[in-house]
């Protein structure tokens, strides 16, 4: 996956990315996915305008009401409007996904560059990454959240840490290939400073696989957030997310399955779209894979 075809790598990144949204190039799936994702994003961005109620306003005497004109999807266990909460919740869920991806990529790229470039650090870093990968990510995540308290920050951290080793491995392998390249060897021979080699020559090579990896991390982070909430180790329900709305709906599943199913549907659409776009991006950026899979 990381062996980037030279001819493809010569094309500017932006151009390759553009080609993937053109339906003629890649089939209909990514195109539809992009539209669905856009719809979900717009729904969450404009949630304050679209929402029919204050998503935080409680009315315990109006709890667990079925869908009606006043409450599009009914109300939850505190009498809050489910629809309004769901679209605001999507905003936080997406935000968590994006933050997790950015932090994981940032940390991963940095560690991966170091591991790939410095032989000495490599062995230690990679053993540490092996160790991190050996621990089931969900256990690390629930452990970290339970121990650090269920704030947005600690949930993002808990989701991020288990993702880092995969990014490190990816970056490291790209760097290992790239440092054999003539122009990198030349730069080394000419005595360019280490940071310059790292950031000017090696970093750009990691961009394409990082974009692909980033989309996958967003998707998996959104799912992990939902999972953490489900297990009782998520963000407080004062800040709605898809995860904690569903987690609260758990006990009412047979009374009002909509509390889980609607946010679940929206989440699935969102994650599905991101995954499809990730697949398309991977194919577009790595024609070798495309030949094989599409």
């Amino acid at each position: 996956m990381t062996n980037i075809d030279r001819s493809a790598a010569d094309k500017p990144l932006a151009l390759r990315l553009l080609s993937m949204v053109s339906p003629a190039q890649t089939g209909l799936a990514p195109f539809i996915a992009a539209i669905m994702l856009l719809a979900v994003i717009l729904l969450t961005i404009f949630s304050p305008q679209i929402a029919t109620h204050d998503p935080l306003a409680m009315d315990p005497l109006m709890r667990l009401k079925p869908p009606s004109e006043a409450h599009l999807l009914g109300t939850d266990g505190y009498g809050r409007d489910l629809f309004s909460r769901m679209i605001l919740g999507g905003r936080i869920s997406l935000l968590i996904g994006i933050c997790a991806a950015v932090v994981a990529l940032g940390l991963g790229v940095l560690i991966g560059l170091v591991a790939g470039y410095f032989r000495l650090a490599d062995a230690i870093i990679m053993r540490a990454m092996d160790a991190l990968m050996a621990m089931p990510s969900i256990l690390i995540a629930i452990g970290l959240v339970a121990l650090n308290g269920p704030s947005i920050g600690s949930v993002i951290m808990a989701i991020t840490i288990p993702e880092v080793p995969r990014v490190v491995r990816l970056v490291r392998s790209v760097v290992l290939t790239a440092r054999e390249e003539p122009y990198v060897e030349a730069a080394m021979a000419l005595g360019s400073s280490t940071p310059k080699i790292l950031f000017q020559h090696l970093l750009p090579n990691t961009m394409a696989p990082m974009i692909v990896q980033g989309t996958y991390i967003i998707a998996s982070a959104i799912l992990t957030e939902a999972l953490l909430s489900f297990l009782g180790a998520g963000i407080s329900t004062e800040i709605p997310t898809w995860g904690n709305i569903m987690a609260e709906g758990r006990q009412y599943f047979r009374i009002n399955p909509g509390i889980i199913l609607w946010p679940g549907l929206l989440l699935t659409i969102c994650v599905l779209s991101i995954n499809l776009i990730g697949d398309a991006a991977r194919d577009a950026l790595d024609p070798r894979m495309k030949k094989r899979q599409a």
Partner: protein
Amino acid sequence: MTHSKTLSMKAGLFASVFALAAGGALAETTVTAVMHSDLRVLDPVITTAHITRDHAYMIYDVLVAEDETGKIQPQMADVTASDDGLTYTFTLRDGLKFHDGAPVTGADVVASLQRWGKRDTGGQMIMDVTASLEAKDDKTVVWALSAPFGPFLETVGKQSALPPFIMPARIAQTPADQAIQEHIGSGPFKFVTEEFQPGVGATYVKNEEYVPRSEPASGYAGGKVVNVDKVRWLTMPDSQTAVNALQSGDIDLIESMPVDLIPLLEGDDTVAVEKRAAFGFQTMGRMNFKHPPFDNPKIRQAALLAMSQEPVLAALTASPEYYQVCGAIFGCGTRLESTTGTETLTAAGNPEAAKKLLEEAGYDGTPVVLMQPTEAPTLKAQPVVAAQQLRAAGFNVDMQPMDWQTLVTRRASMEAPANGGWNMFFTNWQMSEVANPVISVMLNGRGDTAWFGWPDDPKIEELRKEFIAAATPEAQKAAADKIQAHAMETVSYVPLGEYNFPQARRTVLTDMAPTPVPVFWGLKKSEE
């Protein structure tokens, strides 16, 4: 719901075919129950957790116990008091044996009472006035006091939170802050140690050696006759799973049934949903007297004015059928009932007055750290609703979600809220645990040695002594009224009303005792 009926009819058919085939062989009867929480701690002296107390009622016996009218009756022992009320003599009845075969002796009783007296609030108060507590012989225990203690028998015979359970002396000699390692009592059930799995469940078998009293069972008193062979407690953290299991016949009883889920059982005549006992729980908010803003009594009063019981109760219990707005800290419909000082709580609250009072007190927006347990079904709703009410009155609320274990650890911290302390949390007590000023830990005003929140309130301590010394029921009531008025003026805590989660049982279970503490003697399970 029709499908589940056909299912259980089918199951019933199978059962009867099987019974015929087996020629009416003596099948073992096992009652499988999902209790309100998972049993983890097995030492009934070290924790006030209700599930641990329920476990203790299975395997231990008590000296004296409340009958269904609340009167103290002999159980393991007959008791006589001297005329001056200073000496109590307990005489153990015949036939009492521990599960390891050893007879119950006076020495066992003394060791058990002493360990209990180190942990229990009421026990500590009695120990303060104890001159001597010793076994005269194998059957007799004499307890001599240095000053009269009005509610002595009520305290020794109380049903909750830490009743004095009797265990062998060698086990009761474990220091009171270390958990006991052996679980041997003289009660009607035996604990099956090998089948105890925290997080999964616990098993009890009938104690064949147990000699019940001859009187009919009444409350926790009378003959504890066991009619089943085995009782299995299963843990199901998800109440919906429990409802599914009840309908499929996997379990016989859900001790604490979330009111929201009752509609799922409607129309299913193999299942009955009912209130266990007349009295349920009181839910309440507790403030930290040590740190701003609630170190200021005016701000505590403002918080009380800001709150209203009904929304809290509705979020907690769903249906008015299972909650009751009640401003009496000793419970509505009880002998000591008084509702002084709770007029706004039981109405819609008075945010305007609260705002004014806050201004008067010079509230500077110091954040109120509210601890919210996220996974405790009976405690997670209160802080959410209360936060909204406090905010409406102008409080700056910082609600911090955490799991219950963290809350329990954190509420013990006397630090400032910014350094890992807290300002307010919510808890529930069974009505019997707050029913009078001696038993209720919420009214302890002994500063650092009081319950979490640590009110330093010499006045309330004086009033409690007045209650202890009161000789007549009228004098006790008068003292209790003063305590209610004082507690609401200083806001010892904010009573948020009473609720009562019903139980759901399969109708094959009959003759269950209507006690607040779920007991498993007396009940019968019929063939389906």
